[in-house]
């Protein structure tokens, strides 16, 4: 039998190599796992830093021995191809594996095993882990802000109604489909506004008036991003068409508008809406802070929307314009019946991305004193009864936002893939 050459494994001794290699890797994994989970150091007999490096060295040798090209064993080949192409790759693989194993027990015990969720005051949190009681007690505040508890059904109903109205397009009859754009651009925003105004604000139909100062939490995030989206889309369309216009005045006005809003940070726009804007309104004309903020964000996002739509307009082949013109269509006829239906279909993923950015930007309204989720967290954090739970609060908010944003980004990615194949 050939002597085992540790440095250059070959196919002849594949059995020996793979067995010895996997045993070595197994030992190193056991060492790390026992270190992390059982807090016992199996290699304490080794001197100094060697005990920490021990699993790494062992694992590297093991992976090196298993690295046999075209071994004929499917699993082994798959492993070698994916995580074990050379020594550097093997080192990275081991480092990632070990750090995952090392990080698991503390985070798991903090989030689940040592955490508390029972009770309804700070005293219930006795463990060393997270205090989810805090989230449980404040949950309604985080979702609905200072909105009176007994009226939360009004927010829920309003949201359900608005979402249901948004899906009308799917169920519309074939002969009514041509009015879809009209519905979404003009009728839907008006209905949505009325629904939210009469249900959430109240003041008539026997519903009690709740001022916008009491709105807050995640529902405010949705309200703000919803209105900004439906208003910024038509505005963006106007400026996108304007920027591609042949008329110099309109073109330069559009360019100035777009470049101005794209050049300033949103936070200064919000400052503008809260301190500078009231100065520009007529005397005795009061405009609610929330309305001002929605107008400011709409103007801001419209510039980004315009650039996305312009991209769609530019990507249409010239032939479409020429064909429409040769049929004797004027500017508006050409755009409404030929150009925009095609261009808007192309920019749906881009618009979804803009909307994603918009949702991620809404926590900023906190700086002008509107208490959406981040604002409510800041409020709860300083409550003397609930000091010291900032970590739980921010992790909770991060998880919620992450789920929303991740779902949206996946959706826009799917849309992109769908429309790519169709062309």
């Amino acid at each position: 039998m050939q002597a085992i050459n540790f440095l250059k494994p070959n196919r002849d001794n594949i059995k020996n190599y793979s067995i010895i290699g996997s045993v070595l890797i197994l030992i190193s994994l056991i060492d790390v796992i026992s270190n992390a989970f059982l807090k016992t150091n199996l290699t304490s007999f080794l001197p100094g830093s060697l005990t920490t490096l021990f699993p790494l060295i062992l694992g590297l040798i093991g992976l090196n021995m298993m690295r046999i090209d075209y071994s004929g064993n499917k699993t082994l080949d798959l492993l070698n191809k994916n995580i074990n192409t050379n020594n550097f790759n093997a080192l990275l693989t081991l480092l990632i594996l070990f750090s995952i194993i090392k990080a698991l027990p503390p985070s798991l015990s903090w989030m689940i095993f040592d955490a508390n969720i029972s009770g309804d005051s700070k005293d219930a949190c006795t463990g060393t882990g997270a205090c989810w009681t805090y989230i449980k007690v404040w949950f309604r505040r985080f979702m609905y802000g200072m909105y009176p508890n007994e009226f939360h059904w009004r927010i829920n109903t309003a949201f359900i109604l608005v979402i249901a109205l948004g899906f009308v397009g799917y169920f519309m009859k074939e002969n009514l489909k041509k009015y879809l754009a009209l519905y979404y651009v003009i009728i839907y925003p008006i209905i949505a506004y009325l629904v939210i105004y009469y249900l959430i604000s109240g003041g008539s139909f026997g519903l009690q008036w709740v001022e916008t100062g009491a709105w807050g939490g995640l529902s405010l995030t949705f309200i703000v991003s919803f209105f900004c989206l439906i208003f910024c889309f038509p505005l963006g369309m106007i400026f996108a068409l304007g920027r591609r216009s042949n008329l110099p005045v309109i073109k330069y006005i559009s360019i100035c508008y777009i470049e101005f809003w794209r050049g300033v940070p949103l936070i200064t726009v919000l400052f503008m809406s809260s301190v500078m804007f009231p100065m520009f309104l007529p005397e005795d004309f009061f405009m609610d802070k929330l309305v001002r903020v929605i107008i400011a964000i709409t103007l801001f996002e419209a510039a980004y929307c315009a650039e996305v739509i312009r991209g769609g307009l530019q990507s249409l082949p010239r032939g479409q314009y020429d064909a429409a013109k040769s049929l004797g269509m004027g500017y508006w006829k050409m755009h409404i019946f030929v150009i925009l239906p095609q261009a808007l279909k192309l920019v749906i993923p881009g618009i979804a991305n803009t909307f994603l950015a918009l949702v991620k930007d809404t926590p900023l309204i906190f700086v002008v004193g509107l208490a959406e989720l981040a604002g409510m967290l800041a409020l709860a954090k300083t409550n003397p009864k609930w000091l010291g739970f900032a970590m739980e609060g921010y992790i909770f908010a991060s998880i919620i936002f992450w789920i929303i944003c991740y779902a949206m980004s996946k959706y826009s990615y799917n849309l992109e893939a769908k429309y790519k194949t169709e062309r």
């Binding site: 990275l92 300033v264 005397e283």
Partner: protein
């Protein structure tokens, strides 16, 4: 006739519309300011500001003018943007390359890193680092030394400061090294183009870069001392570090959040750039006998950079604009110092908000103009 109307009527209407809006707003502002007894003007910039700023790069005290306070804020904004841009570039390139790795684990970890950090609003990330993570750090007296000389405490990060002697000699040496490297590169390029000879430029450049500054220490009389942060007792329970440089926790939280968040976007740009170079280029380069390193340096990178740089600059611009979120955690940047404190004291809303917006606009437009010029320069010239 019909054509002229079609051409000019919309433009005249548009001008009229804009003029009407601006006129309406100006008249309102005028009446409002008259009623409240505020006058419009930028004279306040030279007045004494009488407020203090916690962290500033230049000498500043309450007796300085508002204009200087503006400068302090602007410098702080630029500082935090600059540091974050460096970190996010390093991270972004590493993650972007990792996403293209053949290793399943590395590829997926990088992908999850990107998905994780870019789907959480930046403001929440800043809050998380500032209010949750950095608050868990030890007090100054309990802090352990990192690398022996730096201290990470709840009051900030303390690092040694450098005390130079004959700094100018050292700087001249560095300058000389850079100039000689440029000359060497030109010479090497000429040699390669004309005679087909290759010299190891990188090795020579490294040697020059190390040897010249080293000479300045040995011959030029340059010396470098480190001033270490020392623990000092303020009162019975309160300790503080003195000496060295202290980086406030606000700065650290901002840099962490900004660079982690932006690095995901940079990573996507890098990935798109490298993927954008067609495979044929690599194979063609290899088939004419270039080594893998040469393929990367001479064929892949120049083409990938053309795709990577424009969107990456855009991300840097976004980062600079996003650094204005500093105001939310009281890092004294432009927005907090000028649009916050100074506005509160003077009440000059219109002037101050306009100046702040114009400053950001100037930064954005300048960088955009430079980028356009650069794009024109590097774009492929087809014959």
């Amino acid at each position: 006739m019909n054509n002229i109307v079609k051409k000019f009527l919309p433009q005249i209407l548009a001008i009229l519309f804009v003029v009407l809006i601006f006129g309406f707003l100006t008249i309102n502002a005028q009446t409002n300011m008259d009623n409240r007894g505020i006058d419009f003007g930028f004279g306040f910039l030279s007045q004494e500001s009488s407020f203090d700023v916690q962290f500033s790069l230049i000498e500043y005290s309450g007796s300085d003018s508002y204009a200087r306070a503006f400068l302090v804020g602007l410098l702080n904004t630029l500082l935090v943007s600059f540091i974050s841009i460096i970190f996010c570039t390093i991270l972004g390139v590493i993650i972007g390359v990792a996403r293209l790795s053949s290793n399943y684990l590395i590829k997926n970890s990088a992908a999850w890193y990107v998905e994780f950090f870019r789907n959480i609003p930046l403001l929440l990330q800043i809050f998380f680092w500032y209010y949750a993570a950095l608050r868990a750090l030890p007090l100054p007296e309990k802090a352990n030394a990192w690398f022996g000389v730096t201290y990470m405490t709840v009051k900030g990060y303390y690092i040694p400061s450098m005390v130079w002697e004959n700094l100018n000699v050292f700087l001249y040496c560095g300058l000389a090294a850079i100039i000689s490297i440029i000359i060497l590169r030109n010479y090497a390029n000429n040699l390669r183009d004309n005679k087909g000879k290759q010299i190891p430029v990188l090795l020579y450049s490294l040697a020059i870069l190390i040897i010249l500054p080293l000479l300045s220490f040995l011959i030029g009389g340059v010396s470098l001392d480190f001033e270490l942060p020392q623990l000092k007792k303020l009162s019975k329970i309160s300790y503080i570090y003195e000496g060295g440089i202290s980086l406030p926790p606000e700065l650290i939280a901002l840099v962490l959040a900004l660079s982690l968040y932006t690095s995901t976007f940079v990573a996507e740009c890098v990935r798109a750039g490298i993927e954008g170079v067609s495979k044929g280029q690599k194979e063609a380069a290899a088939s004419v006998g270039l080594t893998p390193n040469q393929v990367l340096k001479l064929v892949i990178m120049p083409q990938a950079l053309r795709i990577i740089i424009p969107p990456t600059t855009n991300q840097y611009l976004n980062l600079t604009k996003n650094s204005s979120l500093a105001a939310a955690i009281a890092y004294p940047d432009l927005v907090l110092v000028f649009a916050g404190t100074a506005l509160m004291q003077t009440g000059k809303a219109i002037e101050i908000v306009s100046i702040t917006m114009l400053t950001y606009l100037t930064i954005s437009l300048t960088i955009a103009a430079i980028m356009n010029w650069y794009n024109k320069k590097i774009e492929i010239k087809e014959k």
